[in-house]
């Protein structure tokens, strides 16, 4: 026993004198140790990718998915405590379904992020609960077309409705990241988990704000980023998991789906190649690190 601390971190909803909520900060720590998750918002779709750290050789490869579908047009991935991520997913699905029940149309990515932000914030307020040990990335494609009300009969005038505002675009890609505090922002590229710093640095190089990145390039970049971000954590094996949502003309037709096997393998191959290219000097530093790690193993 070293110290009993200040006591301001023992329960939720208690502020420290300088205005911090320690429980939330501890939750962020849990996230910082989780496998890396990223999302890239491209001009014609969104990619989600995650580094799934393999905890046992006995786990079936490709099973135990970590990226979940929230609604037909929306997916989510999280870093941190896996069960908390599962609960996040389940609540997000409920929110999406209840929106459909009330408004008879799919929820927008922004609205879902808002609902989930509110939900996670509520878990910082009460002594009977703890904050979520995850940061989640939500990606979606909001239809660029006019959608009918679910279940409606008929389609109105054959010449279409009159009086529309001209030259305005609607819908498009959405990417949001929600943190344990309940805070959420929209991103061009989002990263969380252990390798987030490396991933963010890589994504900043892509000039995503220009809106020129295509979805297919996005997939390749995402794979590369997960591999680069994993490089600092080389001793652990991992699996790359990727999903995407394209626009209505694209390969997924606005749906959230797994990136097809061949494409995923191609992207992985490219990622490994890119990594080997600038890895020669890293290999040496790794060797230097070896003895240090061996030291750690002693007890």
């Amino acid at each position: 026993m070293t110290s009993i601390g200040t006591g301001y971190d023992l329960t939720n909803s208690v502020f420290s004198p300088d205005g911090r909520n320690f429980q939330v900060e501890y939750a962020v720590k849990a996230v910082e140790n989780g496998g890396t998750s990223i999302g890239i918002r491209c001009k014609d779709g969104v990619v989600l990718a995650c580094e799934k750290v393999i905890t046992s050789k006995l786990l079936k490869a490709g099973a135990n998915k970590r990226i979940a579908t929230i609604d037909r047009h929306m997916g989510a991935v999280s870093s941190g405590l896996v069960p908390d991520g599962r609960h996040f997913t389940s609540r997000a699905r409920e929110e999406a379904a209840s929106w459909r029940k009330v408004y008879k149309s799919p929820i927008t990515t922004a609205d879902l992020a808002g609902r989930m932000g509110g939900y996670m914030q509520a878990y910082t307020l009460y002594s009977s609960v703890r904050p979520f040990g995850v940061t989640a990335i939500v990606a979606g494609w909001d239809s660029e077309l006019e959608l009918p009300v679910d279940g409606q009969v008929g389609s109105g005038p054959s010449i279409g409705s009159g009086g529309k505002a001209k030259d305005k675009k609607y819908g498009g890609p959405g990417l949001y990241m929600i943190e344990p505090s309940g805070i959420y922002w929209g991103y061009y590229g989002a990263a969380t988990g252990k390798g987030r710093q490396t991933a963010k640095a890589e994504m900043e190089k892509l000039n995503l704000a220009e809106g020129k990145m295509s979805l297919l390039d996005g997939v390749k970049e995402a794979a590369k980023i997960i591999y680069v971000a994993h490089a600092d954590n080389k001793d652990k094996e991992f699996e790359l998991e990727m999903t995407w949502i394209s626009n209505l003309e694209g390969p997924t037709k606005g749906r959230h789906q797994e990136v097809p096997k061949e494409l995923l393998e191609d992207a992985e191959k490219l990622a490994k190649k890119a990594l080997d290219g600038d890895d020669d000097d890293e290999e040496e530093t790794k060797d230097e690190n070896k003895p240090a790690e061996a030291d750690k193993m002693e007890e």
Binding site: V102, Q152, V153, G154, G162
Partner: protein, 229 residues
């Protein structure tokens, strides 16, 4: 609660809309309609409210606003349709504030439908929802008694509508300009008022475009010829 069991007409010959009313309930034995036109939508209605044979109100406003440019035409029980419209009005107001953008006509139609369908055994409400929004332009939805939802070029409703199916079918054109559209609605409602005993009074209209909502009023003393300010 006494509901008639006859298919179309009650013993007293009053129209089927009356069939679902409770004893003594105020009825909007009505002529209502809403149409699409070039720049948006127009809603129109007569102004008669009856309790049985008695005209309880001869200048009723059956065109009810539920958001800036989303309105509805009410037919059936006055109490039921007012209550439903009030709930949707409240809901859309909250939607606009919470989501930072105005609701679409679809949103309104979905909310109306849910209420009408889930409470179909207790309501007598025949509604027409019409609205304009930036993304979708003008839209007309009809929600008849059972709570189904129909998107239409134009919709007519209420007891008076039975008399104008032919008129509307013969005179309807898609993409009319505002003047032609107003005349179409006025002509149709005039016929409905002429033939339907439980429709009458003035003709009210609301024109919904990007410019907002614009009310029209036409009085019977001038054969509905002059727009009253």
């Amino acid at each position: 609660m006494e509901f008639g069991t006859s298919g179309m007409l009650n013993e007293d010959g009053i129209h089927v809309d009356m069939d679902r009313l409770k004893k003594g309930e105020v009825n909007l034995g009505t002529s209502i309609m809403a149409i699409n036109f070039k720049d948006g939508v127009i809603l129109g209605a007569d102004s008669r409210t009856t309790t049985g044979a008695y005209i309880a109100n001869r200048v009723t406003d059956k065109l009810t606003q539920v958001h800036d440019t989303i309105w509805c035409c009410r037919s059936g029980s006055a109490a039921d349709t007012q209550a439903v419209a009030d709930m949707v009005h409240q809901n859309l107001g909250m939607y606009g504030i919470m989501n930072g953008r105005p609701p679409t006509t679809q949103t309104a139609a979905a909310l109306f439908q849910e209420l009408c369908y889930e409470n179909k055994d207790r309501l007598s409400a025949g509604l027409i929802i019409a609205g304009w929004d930036e993304r979708h332009g003008g839209q007309v939805y009809s929600i008849p008694l059972g709570g189904s939802l129909h998107k239409q070029s134009y919709a007519i409703g209420g007891s008076g509508s039975t008399y104008i199916y032919g008129y509307c079918d013969a005179n309807w054109k898609e993409g009319m300009d505002e003047e032609a559209a107003v005349n179409f609605v006025k002509g149709a409602l005039q016929e409905a008022i002429k033939w339907d005993g439980s429709s009458g009074g003035v003709i009210r209209m609301v024109v919904l475009t990007k410019k907002g909502a614009n009310r029209h009023l036409y009085l019977p003393d001038t054969q509905y010829a002059v727009r009253h300010e």
